[in-house]
């Protein structure tokens, strides 16, 4: 092996490493965000129409697969903190789901769970996605 070959090999290594880091630290894609919101909305609608079993079936069929980007980077101290924040943001989304139902029920609207799910989607698109982007960024070595 000569020095040029060694340099080429190191360049290849650096490029491949970067591919993994880029994939592993990517924020949610539009597809992942859409699939999350769609599953939350489906939960609301199907609860209202009494077909929660269908939601379970949809989940089993793998609606959430869009989240998987194929790479799990090693955790860092910062990423562990952001992971806790991500769980917290999902709790906020759940609270929005519950809180969103109150006005719908007070006004006697026919689909209170759907309204709650729409409120949860709003939190997911604004808060949860932003927290996830921070989490993904904190994974970069």
């Amino acid at each position: 092996m000569d020095a040029n070959e060694a340099r080429d090999a190191l360049t290849l290594v650096a490029r491949r490493r970067q591919q993994t880091v880029t994939a592993g630290s990517a924020a949610w894609s539009a597809r992942a965000t859409w699939s999350t919101c769609a599953s939350v909305l489906a939960l609301g609608v199907l609860t209202d129409v009494g077909m929660i079993w269908l939601w379970v079936l949809l989940m089993v069929m793998g609606v959430g697969v869009a989240w998987n980007n194929g790479v799990r980077l090693r955790s860092t101290a910062a990423s562990r903190r952001w992971r806790v924040a991500l769980v917290g943001s999902f709790v906020v989304a759940y609270l929005a789901y519950v809180a969103g139902q109150f006005p719908a029920r007070a006004l006697d609207w026919p689909l209170p769970n759907t309204v709650g799910a729409a409120a949860a989607c709003l939190v997911i698109v604004t808060l949860v996605r932003a927290v996830h982007a921070r989490l993904a960024g904190s994974l970069r070595p």
Binding site: V21, G70, R74
Partner: protein, 123 residues
């Protein structure tokens, strides 16, 4: 190490552009088993990650399932890589470097860097 892994001594790099190579510095040895584009690419993709899926490797390298499986089998037999079947809804295979694989890969990179340094006449 098993699986046909070979470590060979590198020939001394001649004609250093910025100065002579010190004769006391031994020539770095290189892990010939890792020194193929396919296996090097796989290890480089696995190195920064905890786990990587088979499909990510296949798409990143741009190879076929069978060609990738063949390389992964060789790496597994050498003890460099381990695999697992995920318990997710859509079953898929994930892979990672073992501790031995990580050590061997880092040693391989060091030997490349040593070689470059010798070529520059730094060591």
């Amino acid at each position: 190490m098993t699986g046909g892994r070979e470590v060979t001594d590198l020939p001394a790099v001649g004609a250093a552009p910025e100065g002579p190579v010190r004769p006391s510095t031994p020539a770095p040895s290189i892990d010939e088993f890792l020194h193929t584009p396919a296996r090097l690419g796989i290890c480089s993709l696995l190195a920064p990650a905890e786990w990587v899926t088979f499909s990510f490797l296949r798409e990143s390298i741009g190879t076929s399932d069978s060609a990738l499986s063949k390389q992964l089998t060789a790496l597994e037999q050498a003890g460099y890589v381990e695999s697992r079947k995920d318990r997710a809804l859509r079953r898929q295979t994930s892979l990672r470097l073992t501790a031995a694989g990580r050590v061997a890969f880092e040693a391989y990179l060091r030997s490349l860097e040593d070689l470059l340094a010798r070529a520059r006449g730094i060591t």
